[in-house]
Symmetry: C2
């Protein structure tokens, strides 16, 4: 059927959509959610039909993606035909019926996600299948590889390549920004990609961005940085690394679903595309962390098994997830903490330093750089000698930042509020969720200088009226929101 | 935050969506899929955020639904604030975790579906939960009532009110159009709503539309028709009956999911809103039907249990699902069949007549109109005496049709093709799926005169060259598509 292009100047931001009115849809024997093939000048796309009552009879509505792919002009005549359901949908159904799906089926699904052929509800069924039935390790391996191989992959001649990842859920956990300088100071390569925050006050990419650029769109740029500095700390989202992940996360978001197969594949595929040979996975366990002690055991086994299947040596450790780590929470406040630790300054938070040294030590041993039992000692030496700081400066410089930046010169929000103890006693609970929300109400991570600075940690003794934390914001309005929330939902419990 | 309205002149056709660019979204601390409250002149809506890169910084993009609800003009300034996640999402998550949800939670979910607050992937998770874990009968009862009570309900002073429903899957199964005239001829009320076809050559609403109007938008109109004629056969889709069903069916469509709780609730809620007191459910079982013998037993038990909970006397019968019923498949061809049966004409298909008499007989007994064992006899009498035909004429008239229409005057497609036996023998298989597809390729149900007319049924003996069926189409192009398919995938197997 010949239809006339009507252009809507927006992106559909997912599956390719075309709009048809009811009459034309009936004529084509398609309904909302069915697919059609749209053809123009020798090119074609397969798009999902949406019924739009207001459209003129012979019009087909297209958004930017379809328009750009077919290079359409407003009013241009296109040919439209009904199209079969993609095979990948049958495979998703199969998985929802708790049947094993094979390597081809999994690659088909991931390809169709990346190519915007599957709609959000269809991807949601895939997530639901993984959430309710789980995946076999074989399926998880295929999913991981498919997610990696549908995007860019970093390739290195030298080995080992060192990687780390934290599954998240604990505010302030910026160990990456200490581990990468230490590991690279030991002469190992560590091309680290990180995410931005979704629900926490800051992600590693947000914090690193205070010190240097993190958005690089080509793997060539990354390779150049790593060549110069031995490592990098960049935002994975700017690159085309495991692009299916974004579409999957999008439909997981509102229900806060994080099915194990997706968790394993999302993290491991990113380590795989970094080219890592040795990887440490940090899983915080505790009241406010994402992971229970029981789930930790399962995840540890699965991560290590998956690593073996992909030729990556993976070690998984359980860490403290009872309270935030470090003192600063929010991009600028965290960046200051990091520089203070690297400088050996007394303001550097000891818990963060200790955790980073332990992890760097494990990685030095895992990669064979030092003998068993010597890792942490070596890491400490690299930190205390200032070699790690030197490496940090090299990386900042390679990523276009100012290597001589001083922590005291990093700007924080000028609107502040001191939250004080309402009685004397011992800190019993430091509620990570609530502190994170306060920091976000204050504007973090979007406002780099916003966040929370903690003066106390769990088990500290305090007197009534002591400052427990300061809220920093870049606007009066945001400060008052954060203040209001902190008064309503105190994140600190004193006993 | 204050933003400027940018109008996109289309319907989003589901959850209320607003478009923000990335910068504004960050400023509001929301991301794609999060909710915002949009306020203008004392009114507000809660809408889901979609990120649109091309939008100007301070613009908010709105589709028709948001625009109309808030009565917005292009360029108008609105206030936008982040909004909490609806509670119903937590309940969907709970169900996906295989935990029982209570009456309030179920009503919340259904309300939020009807009010376009839930997105398609969120509804898909609800369907996935029902599909993988099932619902308890209590949950199913609440779902059914919630689906009914969020729309219009027909109320009657007189009792009994008779209803029927077929779960579908067999082409040509137009028993409703014989049962309603018979039951109303017996003096009982039968306000029947039907659906249009989704995948078959015709639905009851499509076939009835050949003879009369079926689209009535108010319950008052329906009541007037029933008052005049004792019954009706109208399209449920034009009314606001169980409106959540449409949104649910939309996300079930591409995976062809039909979870038992949704099946039970969808059908029973519609009987509930018709005000039925006595209902017969027809479940075809067989090779090409939707239902296996095993599933039949489960469904029968559940339908009857659910009926009891809602105060409806429900009986479920298993019927033949091995081949199409009747001879004509497609709106006009089926309407001719129906009139022939009502006239006692020899062309009236016997299998369809027999099935309708059996079902009408059961309903006459179930409702207490006649004694046990006398139902079918009574039904036959009403048909053979011409009383059912008279009732049909009354109903056609009440629905604005021509009561004196003759079957031979109903127009069918002028483009025809005779499909002939390629050998002599006995008909072993009459593939319902393939025949349906041939009829749809020919243009049914959109082209009223298109479809397939069968000359043979299963077990019939045929000679090579005998006509097995005729394809009718309203255009040469559609005929050749149907012909091509029938040659490639013969729906008849002769042994």
């Amino acid at each position: 059927m010949k239809l006339k292009t009507k252009v809507f100047d927006i992106e559909s931001g997912g599956a390719l959509i075309v709009l048809l009115n009811e009459k034309i849809a009936k004529e084509l024997d398609v309904t909302s959610g069915d697919r059609v093939r749209v053809m123009a000048e020798g090119k074609y796309v397969v798009a999902v039909v949406d019924i739009a009552k207001k459209l003129k009879n012979k019009d087909i509505g297209v958004y930017d993606e379809v328009r750009e792919t077919l290079n359409l002009n407003p009013g241009q005549i296109v040919t439209v035909e009904p199209e079969e359901i993609p095979e990948s949908i049958g495979s998703i159904k199969k998985k929802l019926d708790n049947k094993e799906i094979n390597v081809d089926e999994i690659y088909n699904i991931v390809n169709d996600i990346v190519d915007n052929i599957l709609t959000q509800p269809e991807i949601a069924y895939f997530v639901a299948a993984a959430y309710t039935h789980g995946f076999s390790m074989k399926e998880t391996e295929h999913l991981t590889k498919a997610m990696a191989e549908t995007g860019d992959i970093l390739k290195w001649k030298k080995k080992p390549i060192v990687g780390k990842h934290c599954i998240g859920g604990v505010a302030g956990n910026r160990t990456t920004m200490l581990i990468v300088p230490i590991i690279t100071a030991a002469g190992l390569m560590m091309p680290k990609t990180s995410s931005r925050s979704i629900t926490s006050p800051s992600g590693t990419a947000d914090t690193m961005e205070v010190l240097a650029d993190v958005s690089f769109e080509s793997t060539k740029e990354i390779k150049d940085i790593v060549k110069k500095a031995g490592g990098c700390m960049v935002w994975g989202g700017a690159l085309k690394l495991a692009p299916a992940d974004d579409a999957i996360v999008k439909v997981e978001h509102s229900l806060e679903l994080d099915p194990t197969p997706m968790l394993l594949a999302s993290i491991t595929s990113k380590k795989y595309v970094e080219g890592d040979t040795h990887v440490l996975i940090d899983i915080p366990v505790g009241r406010f962390a994402k992971c229970s002690a029981k789930r930790f055991k399962q995840l540890k086994k699965k991560f290590e098994n998956l690593g073996k299947r992909l030729g990556i040596k993976v070690k998984v450790i359980k860490t403290e997830g009872e309270e935030p780590i470090g003192n600063g929470l929010g991009p600028a406040l965290e960046a200051k903490d990091i520089l203070w630790v690297l400088q050996g300054h007394e303001k550097g938070p000891k818990d963060l330093e200790e955790k980073a040294l332990t992890m760097a030590g494990i990685l030095l041993e895992l990669s064979g750089k030092v003998k068993k039992g010597q890792g942490k000692k070596k890491a400490k030496k690299l930190l205390e000698s200032g070699k790690a700081l030197e490496k940090m400066k090299e990386i900042i410089k390679a990523q276009g930042g100012n290597p001589n930046i001083k922590p005291e010169n990093i700007k924080v929000g000028k609107y502040t509020y001191n939250f004080k103890a309402n009685k004397s006693g011992k800190i019993k609970i430091l509620n990570d969720d609530r502190i994170s929300r306060i920091a976000r109400f204050a504007g973090a991570p979007k406002s780099k200088g916003a966040g929370v600075y903690l003066y106390v940690h769990k088990d500290a003794k305090v007197k009534k009226g002591d400052k427990l934390f300061t809220i920093y914001a870049e606007s009066d309005w945001k400060l008052s929101n954060a203040k209001k929330f902190s008064k309503k939902w105190s994140p600190v419990e004193i006993k």
